[in-house]
């Protein structure tokens, strides 16, 4: 039991542990997934492919048909997916980029960031495998029972006097702590959205730039971002504008330059700014 597990053995364990990623539809996976890493890992492992070979358009199609089958539009799930899709696209782009062509410092920085993302994903996977191993240990050990029986009276009397070195106030705090309702677990992604990056702000930036210039490439719109999360936020902002019919997209081919055109009113009709005032909450 103390032997180091080799990766293959752990993979077997993981397969046995009923990982739902190996079969089933999007629905199955989404019902089980826990967060972006989980979904991403599932998507990649399900296809048993390198990231570069994942057909993102196929995954997207599956997801859209999944969403279409839902009774209600689920903004939460859609947002999750966008984050994942953006990450996946990032990874894929980084993998496809021939190393020799990386001369631009900007590209290099981007590449590094993406490799870190991939490393994070591997880390996540490692702990998932370790968890499968722990689960196996727990299953085995739970079949062994220690004796948990009241002491025979003659022995019970011999226990040393019990010590309660705790003040009534500490005792009350303990009771309160034990009795507070545990929060219902929810899938949160606020760790992905760095709190200092406001979607609303990023949306305002792209809106004002597009309104001013009429059209721009996404690369240009996101050119001054320093954090990946800002790029993601601007992309989400664009989708928001698209939903409101304020912008249109043009892309000649997959992975080609993405152009964005302003199709909303030109004038300073800023009344609609209120519509997006709660957008951070919506996505948080």
């Amino acid at each position: 039991m103390t032997d180091a597990l080799d990766a293959a053995a752990i993979d077997d364990l993981m397969a046995e542990s009923g990982d739902s990623s190996t079969d089933g539809s999007f629905r199955v996976r989404l019902d089980n997934f826990e967060g972006p890493f989980d979904l991403l890992l599932n998507l990649i492992s399900r296809r048993q492919l390198d990231v570069t070979e994942v057909a993102l358009s196929q995954v997207t199609d599956e997801f859209i048909s999944y969403l279409a089958a839902l009774d209600e539009w689920d903004l939460g799930k859609a947002t999750e997916f966008l984050v994942v899709a953006a990450t996946l696209l990032d990874l894929k782009a980084a993998r496809l980029l021939p190393a020799a062509e990386v001369e631009d410092e900007e590209d290099l920085a981007l590449l590094e960031a993406r490799d870190l993302l991939f490393a994070r994903l591997l880390q996540y996977r490692a702990y998932k495998l370790a968890a499968a191993y722990l689960g196996e240990l727990e299953r085995t050990q739970s079949k062994r029972h220690g004796r948990a029986v009241e002491l025979e009276p003659r022995f019970a009397e011999l226990l040393p006097e019990v010590l309660l070195d705790i003040s009534p106030q500490q005792f009350a705090a303990l009771a309160a702590q034990a009795m507070v309702p545990r929060p219902v677990p929810v899938v949160k992604t606020d760790h992905l959205y760095a709190p200092q990056v406001s979607l609303q702000e990023q949306l305002a930036i792209v809106r004002s730039r597009l309104r001013r210039s009429g059209a721009a490439t996404f690369r240009a719109l996101a050119g001054d971002c320093t954090l990946t999360i800002e790029v993601v936020a601007r992309f989400l902002g664009l989708l928001e504008l698209y939903r409101d019919g304020l912008v249109a997209f043009d892309q000649a081919a997959p992975l080609a330059e993405l152009r964005v055109r302003w199709t909303g009113p030109d004038a300073d009709q800023d009344a609609d700014a209120d519509n997006s005032s709660n957008i951070d909450e919506e996505y948080a």
């Binding site: 029972h145 004796r147 948990a148 029986v149 009241e150 002491l151 025979e152 003659r154 022995f155 019970a156 011999l158 226990l159 040393p160 006097e161 019990v162 010590l163 309660l164 070195d165 705790i166 009534p168 106030q169 005792f171 009350a172 705090a173 303990l174 009771a175 309160a176 702590q177 034990a178 009795m179 507070v180 309702p181 545990r182 929060p183 219902v184 677990p185």
Partner: protein, 202 residues
């Protein structure tokens, strides 16, 4: 573990598969190791799906084995059943161990359970378990053994035993009465709503 010994002749002898005698004894030993009270041969036979005769033989072998190797435990017939006990001649070692034990301080889990019982008494074990989100059987047993709580009647609805804190508890806490326990109200958001908590969020 129902009623007393049943007349062995009347038992439906389920055509038990012949089983290795050593293995049967081992299964019985495992069962007897964990039980809280003497078990009838009938109940054992049902658990291992063997005849009472086979079980009786295996128990004999087990007892003889303990005696022959001078084990620290022995098998005794008590109150119509059998149970394993520590052998009397090793009682001094057990006593020595218990008295030296580092068990004088309550664990965090025991303290928290005690706190819940103190503030919700009288309360059933399952209620405490629901509040804490974990099984509290072992901890409740410890608190009982330490004389900090007692069982006082049963819950009319569930039939579960109701527990209260004792005078010893008050004494240990340096309190004159339960009224002196600090109020939880300032510490809790909405104590009334707490009854509605789901037992476990996982």
């Amino acid at each position: 573990m129902n009623a007393d010994t049943v007349d062995e002749e009347t038992l439906p002898t389920v055509a038990a598969a012949p089983v290795d005698a050593g293995r049967l004894a081992a299964a019985l030993e495992a069962i007897l190791f964990v039980v809280e009270a003497p078990v009838t041969v009938t109940a054992l036979a049902a658990a291992v799906q063997q005849t009472t005769d086979a079980v009786a033989d295996a128990l004999d072998a087990l007892r003889t084995g303990y005696d022959e190797r001078g084990a620290g435990i022995d098998l005794r017939e008590v109150g119509g059943g059998v149970r394993i006990y520590t052998r009397a001649e090793h009682a001094d070692a057990v006593e020595q161990f218990l008295q030296e034990g580092q068990r004088s301080r309550l664990t965090q889990a025991a303290l928290e359970t005690l706190a819940v019982i103190a503030y919700r008494q009288p309360v059933t074990r399952s209620r405490v378990s629901a509040i804490r989100g974990v099984n509290v059987d072992g901890v409740v047993r410890t608190l009982l053994a330490r004389g900090l709580i007692v069982e006082v009647g049963t819950d009319p609805e569930t039939g579960g035993g109701l527990f209260r804190t004792t005078e010893l508890f008050l004494e240990k806490m340096g309190l004159n009465s339960l009224e002196e326990l600090p109020s939880l109200a300032p510490l809790l958001p909405d104590i009334e709503g707490l009854d509605a908590i789901a037992p476990d969020d996982l």
